[in-house]
Symmetry: C2
Subunit: 131 residues, 2 copies
DNA sequence: CTGGATCCTCCATGATACTG
DNA sequence: CAGTATCATGGAGGATCCAG
């Protein structure tokens, strides 16, 4: 397969799927990844492989349940790889797949944006509230 | 003000705010914009100014309540501008601010990603489910 | 046409306890 | 250590009605 084939397939996909339509699968996918835990987990894993416990520390405030749930859905969608090392105690490592990493780059940009533009948002809020 | 000043301020902000911390304002901002309605509305407005009714059609499936609520929060955060034309019936136009547009570009990338990589995600899901 | 106000429902999420 | 199972609940979000 030439590399153009993959690109062509993506172009086709862009024509087939329209995230504006509520029933469209891509819309559901967008809904899924437009999730705070997803973005935080993805960005965290961008820094390399992490164990479950490392992740829960890195992503402060996430409950066990939500972390596990988020990781499962990411694994199912092929964005995250889960590798179990059978030892005592057991060790589980999570890392991004190539597909996951391609999304992570975009999400990292969003996280950076949020951290970079807080001040402007604060100013806007004050102006809005004093009105 | 030189352009470097704005850049320097952003660098400083990146050091001050860490979205991993649950209590950090930037984390709250990230939570806010990691929302399906936010991303869909932002991307829709990227194509230009839209009236309220046009938006509700463009973003299929959104309820009046959520659309209004989303627009209010975006307006408050300085991402969206709301312009009212006093006529009968009244006409309200929404458009992105420069700040909003800077975020929209990132979100558009995410939307495109979702539409482009559906197939790969589907394949991954099947493989995961048949296991 | 563009919402504001209300009511109501259900689901996402958190807390807790337990286990291989 | 890395979860699973269960229960409880707050709040997101939908439906409806009304108004400028």
């Amino acid at each position: 397969m030439a590399t153009t084939t993959a690109a062509a397939r993506r172009d086709q996909a862009r024509r087939d799927y329209d995230a504006y339509l509520a029933a469209c699968p891509s819309r559901m996918l967008l809904d899924r990844i437009s999730d705070k835990w997803v973005s935080l987990v993805m960005v965290a894993l961008g820094e390399g492989t992490l164990r479950y416990s490392e992740l829960s520390r890195q992503v402060a405030g996430v409950s066990q349940k939500m972390l596990t749930q988020t990781l499962r859905s990411l694994e199912r969608d092929g964005l995250v790889e889960r590798r179990v090392t059978a030892s005592v105690p057991v060790r589980v490592d999570y890392s991004l797949t190539p597909l996951g990493n391609s999304l992570r780059e975009l999400m990292y940009g969003v996280k950076l944006w949020a951290e970079s533009h807080m001040e402007e948002v604060f100013v806007a809020r004050e102006r809005y509230d004093e009105r």
